[in-house]
């Protein structure tokens, strides 16, 4: 049907400084646009997204009584919202707008100015054709459930959870392991201040346990995520720890009582350097203070012939229940913070360094435990054969900056290597050699720490280590590990005999990152870390509304950065919660009942069960709230009886025609 007020289009071409103007002839583009049907105003401006830029639009709407706006600038993912708001302020329905991406998808990816300009023209023509058919739309509102899920109980999750809880929001903190604390709990000292990790972490851990607004679900995993921003339904699988968290008083007598008098099982928390019993608590300050039974190694589970002395020891409390089974729990939250952390690179994947082959080659985390006073060696640096090392080599960038393994820099290895160098020297007085590609100390107090180590006469050899070998070239090397490296500063190949080799292993995405990613429907960057919505402007947001990122799951970072990011994620969540609602995009689909023939083709298209078949009228109907606006049913409807706001057939046809109409 004919529009009562004829289409009056304003087209705005952005220079984006020189980002666009250097490759696209913006002047020619604006002139071209001016001649297109329905275009009343066509301007070019340095920065359309700036206030003066937006004012241009607002004033033209008023002065030239425009009713459609096209902006040719950057990606709609960056500024579509900005300009829609400008329309709104200008008194126009924000959806009378279409954005043309001539930066990311033209000026930045093409070199030939003529061709880039031609392409930009096509795209603008398409947008003009399209926008003419736009209709006014209203955004819906969805109430935000105030509770928050924080996934991962490392320092990131802990800090985010506490921040939210202190702001009065209820938080579900879900952790895979039997205790929270994550990697940080394994560290001895933290760089560059060398304050003890436990001293700063454990108080936060117990704060989590005692906080009235935090429900702590350890030894648990998220298995299902339903719903959408503001209204997520999360299914949590709770592994049985065989000891009732509510009944257990944390006396740990059951550990003493275990029929295993000596601990026999390699202890995960100590990277297998120590031993634990089948019934154990990961580490003394673990939260919750509740032991867990490992069915793999518990005699009762294996043979059923145990005296069950642990149950005796527990006595009246009856906290131990060997029949316990996994349970699932449904929780409802409005927002989610992913703080699932990282995985340390497996040093065995760099075989040249002999990890797993030579007993005295250690991965950094093992040494972290070793130098830790509460670690397996009570803080002593002792080799597997009981010797104290006279010389120690620390190899940087193992599983980082390496074509064969991971290309990225793990950011923390330089600093923790310096830290370990300092601690090892402190504990053993040994000669310590650092083998590095570059020393990267870009943090507060980092460079100073590096300087301090130089004065401690720690050796720094610049060169990528070729191999660690036990090949003895001359007798002085007997019984030692030899580090072969090209000293790129001295300019020759050196053989450095040492007793102990420490591999500064890098940080990787967790093995289960892909599953988590799919559960929460977010993207991963090429190396497998979770992808933020925008590296600069939305570093803790994801492309799924209401899901935020904190800590190393988004990329390697140290504790200060992690805590800062966790705070930011909490703030983003709070902003949503306190707004009380989110506005939803109106690009939903709807059935035109007069045309629908009730063939039910669409019903099986929708993964969200938004489409139901209404028996009384023999037609299908779409629930607008459940519809997420993918448009699959629209394409599938054989009689064209389903339409999608903002992606109407006619609008897309117009765009195609616009692109292909030869100028």
């Amino acid at each position: 049907m004919p529009d009562r007020n004829p289409v009056r289009i304003g087209v705005y071409t952005c220079h984006c400084g020189t980002n666009i103007a250097a490759t696209v002839d913006v002047k020619a583009l604006a002139e071209f646009a001016a001649a297109l049907p329905g275009v009343v105003v066509s301007r070019e401006y340095k920065y359309m997204c700036s206030d003066p830029g937006q004012d241009l639009i607002r004033h033209d709407i008023r002065d030239h009584d425009l009713n459609r706006i096209v902006v040719a600038s950057c990606s709609p993912h960056l500024h579509e919202h900005t300009f829609r708001t400008a329309l709104k302020v200008g008194g126009l329905n924000p959806y009378y707008f279409h954005m043309v991406n001539i930066r990311e998808q033209a000026s930045w990816v093409h070199e030939n100015k003529a061709q880039a300009t031609r392409k930009a023209k096509d795209l603008v023509r398409a947008a003009v054709c399209r926008v003419a058919l736009h209709e006014p739309l209203e955004r819906g509102r969805v109430a935000i459930h105030p509770d928050v899920l924080v996934l991962g109980g490392g320092i990131a999750g802990i800090h985010a959870a506490l921040t939210l809880a202190n702001a009065g929001k209820h938080v579900y903190l879900v952790e895979k392991e039997p205790t929270i604390g994550g990697h940080m709990a394994k560290f001895d000292k933290t760089f560059p201040t060398l304050d003890c990790a436990a001293c700063i972490l454990t108080p936060k851990m117990s704060a989590v346990r005692s906080h009235p607004n935090i429900t702590l679900l350890t030894y648990s995993e998220v298995t299902k995520v339903d719903g959408y921003v503001g209204n997520y339904k999360i299914t949590v699988l709770r592994h049985p720890r065989y000891i009732d968290e509510d009944l257990c008083a944390g006396c740990l007598e059951c550990l003493e009582a275990c029929v295993y008098k000596q601990a026999k099982v390699p202890d995960e928390f100590n990277m297998g350097l120590g031993k634990r019993k089948p019934i154990y608590i990961p580490f003394p300050q673990a939260v919750p203070q509740v032991p867990v039974i490992d069915p793999e190694t518990c005699i009762q589970f294996k043979s059923g012939k145990c005296k069950k002395t642990c149950i005796e020891a527990c006595g009246e409390r009856h906290a131990i229940n060997l029949q316990a089974e996994a349970t699932t729990q449904e929780i409802e939250v409005g927002t989610v913070i992913l703080a699932t952390g990282f995985r340390a690179f497996d040093a065995a994947r760099a075989p040249g360094y002999g990890y797993g082959r030579y007993p005295n080659v250690y991965a950094a985390l093992e040494v972290e435990r070793m130098v830790n006073a509460s670690g397996p060696t009570a803080g002593e640096v002792i080799l597997r054969d009981g010797r104290r090392p006279q010389a120690v080599g620390i190899i940087h960038c193992v599983g980082s900056r390496d074509e064969n393994t991971n290309r990225w820099c793990s950011r923390v290895c330089c600093m923790y290597s310096l830290k370990l160098a300092h601690l090892i020297k402190e504990h053993t007085g040994a000669e310590v050699f650092n083998f590095y590609i570059d020393i990267r100390t870009p943090g507060k107090g980092f460079e100073e720490f590096y300087q301090k180590l130089l004065t401690e006469r720690v050796h720094f050899i610049r060169g990528r280590v070729a191999e660690v070998t036990d090949w003895v070239f001359d007798p002085s090397e007997d019984g030692k590990l030899v580090i072969r490296v090209e000293d790129t500063l001295a300019g020759f190949v050196r053989r450095i005999p040492v007793d102990m080799v420490v591999l500064a292993t890098g940080l990787e995405p967790r093995a289960d990152a892909p599953e988590v990613r799919r559960l929460f429907n977010i993207s991963c960057a090429s190396e497998g870390f979770f992808l933020e919505r925008h590296p600069k402007l939305a570093p803790v947001n994801t492309f799924t509304d209401g899901v935020f990122l904190a800590g190393c799951c988004q990329g390697p970072k140290d504790i200060p950065d992690t805590v800062a990011q966790a705070g930011a994620a909490a703030a983003e969540a709070l902003a949503l919660i306190d707004a009380g609602y989110v506005e939803t995009e109106p690009n939903t689909a709807r059935v035109i009942e007069e045309i629908c023939c009730g063939c039910k083709t669409c019903n099986s298209m929708c993964p969200y069960h938004a489409i139901s078949f209404v028996g009384e009228i023999h037609k299908s109907r779409i629930n607008e709230v459940l519809c997420k606006g993918c448009g699959t049913c629209v394409a599938a409807c054989p009689s064209g009886a389903i339409r999608q706001n903002l992606f109407e057939d006619d609008q897309i046809y117009a765009e195609i025609e616009g692109i292909l109409t030869h100028a």
Binding site: S604, P638, Y653
Partner: protein
């Protein structure tokens, strides 16, 4: 005096003419109601008789068949000139119809198929001073409205008696429907299909069968039985005659109002509802849809976006 009515046929099989006769006794009402001034298949009028008429003298002309030859075009243009209302009657006139499938080949190929390398009919031939002419065959088949302005469409191959009767009634009465409209309900066939409620909403096809491969249950949705039925994509109005004959709809009534390319839309829909999420699982199911063009464009190739086979 009675309104003048003309019937003419272009590239068609004659089934549309039959459809008029299928009105049975109603035909008498028609004949008594109108004054038929031109109907080559039934009455002896000549081209010159039509030329003799004043422009617009004919109230309603029902033209069936597609345009394939210069003569058909010339006649269509003549009838158009003489008629106030011109109706594209039947699938061929509306969409190109079965003859439109010739757009999968070229005229050259067709002539070769028929005459081989032997003598071919000449466009012009001199016989003792007399010039004999044959109409030129076009490279492609065209639906009527690509050649002359068309006021209304009556779908079907052939149009069902009910549709024809309704159409005539509407056309000879006031007020006339919006110009360009198709004189059939703007809804798909399922709407009037007796089997529409026979299958549950979660329709998933694990295999497509050709109709001869399957003994079809007479109560259940044919598509749900794995036989491609184009009812969901095809305009209603035929009274689901094929379905009642336990045969799938092949789409002769063409698309409903919001669909631009009948075959593309039908294909899009039938492909969407199969199971299988990778090529390995999908392809065997699609193998059941032999001859996609013949299946989805049986009546509408010339009116599709692509109109004919591409390339030379």
């Amino acid at each position: 005096m009675k309104p003048k009515v003309a019937f003419y046929w272009c590239a068609s099989c004659g089934g549309c003419e039959e459809a008029i006769l299928d009105l049975a006794e109603d035909i008498l009402n028609v004949v008594s109601a109108v004054d038929i001034v031109f109907w080559p298949v039934a009455l002896d009028f000549k081209e010159k008789d039509v030329e003799a008429m004043a422009d617009g003298a004919i109230e309603v002309a029902l033209v069936n068949g597609a345009i394939r030859s210069a003569h058909q075009l010339q006649m269509a243009q003549l009838v158009r000139r003489k008629s106030r209302i011109l109706v594209a009657f039947g699938a061929c006139a509306q969409l190109g119809g079965i003859p439109g499938l010739a757009n999968l080949t070229t005229t050259g190929e067709i002539l070769h198929e028929v005459y081989g390398d032997g003598t071919r009919p000449q466009l012009e031939f001199q016989h003792d001073g007399q010039a004999l002419n044959l109409p030129k065959l076009f490279e492609s088949v065209y639906p009527l409205d690509r050649m002359i302005p068309v006021d209304y469409y009556v779908p079907g191959c052939p149009p069902s008696p009910r549709i024809v009767a309704d159409a005539l009634r509407v056309l000879l009465s006031d007020p006339l429907p919006d110009p360009g409209s198709v004189l059939a309900p703007d809804r798909a066939l399922c709407d009037e299909c007796p089997r529409k409620d026979s299958h549950d909403p979660e329709l998933k096809i694990d295999r497509y069968y050709r109709v001869q491969e399957r003994v079809l249950d007479t109560g259940t949705c044919i598509l749900a039985q794995g036989v491609p039925c184009l009812g969901p994509a095809t305009r209603a109005g035929c009274g689901a005659r094929c379905i009642s004959g336990n045969m799938p709809c092949t789409g002769c009534f063409g698309p409903s109002g919001r669909v631009r390319d009948y075959g593309g839309k039908a294909l899009c829909s039938l492909a969407s509802i199969i199971s299988g999420n990778d090529a390995g699982a999908i392809d065997p199911i699609l193998d059941g849809l032999a001859d996609p063009v013949g299946t989805f464009y049986r009546y509408s190739l010339p009116s599709s976006f692509l109109q004919r086979k591409q390339g030379e």
